[in-house]
Amino acid sequence: MTALERVVREEWGRLVALLLAQFRRLDLVEDALADAVEAAQVHWPSDGEPDNASAWLVTTARRRILDRLRAEAMAARKEPLLATEAERRPQEGVMADTGDVVDDDLLRLVLMCAHPALPPEGASALSLRLVMGIATPDIARLFLVSESTMAARITRAKKKIVTAGIPFAIPGTEAIGERLDVVGHTAYLAFTAGYAPGSGPDLLRAELAGEAIRLARVTHALRPSDTLAHLIALMVLQHSRRDARIGADGELVLLPEQDRGRWHHDEIADALAVLAGAGPASSPLSESYRLQALIAAEHATAPSSQETRWDRITDMYAALEVISPSPAVRVARAVSVAEAEGPVAGLALLESLGMTGHRLPAVRGELLARAGDAQAARVALDEAIALCDNDVERRHLESRRAGLDAPGATAERT
């Protein structure tokens, strides 16, 4: 990673926040910073890297913004001097050109990008763009949409911020918790998009999931909350299995078959420490993250698949279903009950359950196969295969289906 790439990756959000605090012009700030990065790509290789890379970028971007403000004032036939008001105005915050910024400015930016008045997908994309500094084409790739679609989504979100007057501000103490929950949701949405994409050739895009965790960590460092802590623990635990989820030929490897040596055990230890230090959940949302993190922790700490404490996991899923009932939670609970008490008990929980997508028929097919009903299992798996739009997962379902056709295959399982 070059010095420039490092600055962009680690400092982008701070630089955006710093310039926004001074100029309050989202439309100018981002373009100016992008211009500054372009200029750095040209100048740094020949002139050498500046001692303070972020200060160099801020100074260059600030010059561009002032040029634009002057041009706007001229175009509006106003007194050109008016445009330089921003120059003369005492700068807010403590910072001059050192590239430092008070953390509150970054928190303002995080909260602005994840404002509840923005559509959730737009908020996720905008957070990755403005806070994390990920280029729009990369965000498009991570969300599996075309570059023009993603560019339009980000533009719409920025336009809404400017037009509707979404503030670059930290809300009062009574509202900040609610707003941080939205940031968490925004991060989790991006994480989920990376962890279990619905379509396309790659089973998971670990990079997006990693960036989502980074967004949550940055926010948690600025304003710690039990909700964010539980969410970070949950995401890190799931993320720690990323390498083991994909086999040598890009095929899906399910939890029981995963090589536990390929899990990132340092990350698991870190997540367990976060979970232990998070304290009790202060809201149902926080509690639902906490229970999911505890479930993930049971898997992460089981020495082998056979030694998984399914009895504990079924209890936690039952508690989770009380707090946030949904078909997806019911399906996950049925899987755990099937492990703890057998496939028939799991199937009983799925009776008369409705859920769109391939997941429900896939689980039903698997449990029917284990219960020895190969015929019903084939029907369910066929349905799942028809509904599945992720190439890797569909191949897994197809091989499971093919295994049922082999004579004696179900007998072995039962």
Partner: protein
Amino acid sequence: MKRYLVLIAYEPGDWEAAGPEERQIYIDGHQAFHDFVDEHGRRISGAALAGADTATTVRQSAVTDGPFAETAEMIGGYYDVELPDLDHAITAARLLPPSYAVEIRSVIDLDAAGERVG
């Protein structure tokens, strides 16, 4: 300061059907909204509107009977206010009677030539 049009929609007949105590909830909600806006910005205007069944819609040269859209809820009143930002507008809107659906729209400044200003 930004200027917002706060559009208030509710089920027709809610107010007429309300008893004295329920009506007081409506009155208190509007008073809380007034107080908040006066403290943080400025009330430019506001009014309750006659029922959508008496509305007139003008499209090009055609004048038609009725509101823009037939919905169960109708625009029953509005406030034109100036407040620092959307968060203040949302806080103010939440003070209004809870049975309302409130739409907040930014007012755009146009210059004499019809170009957007700011």
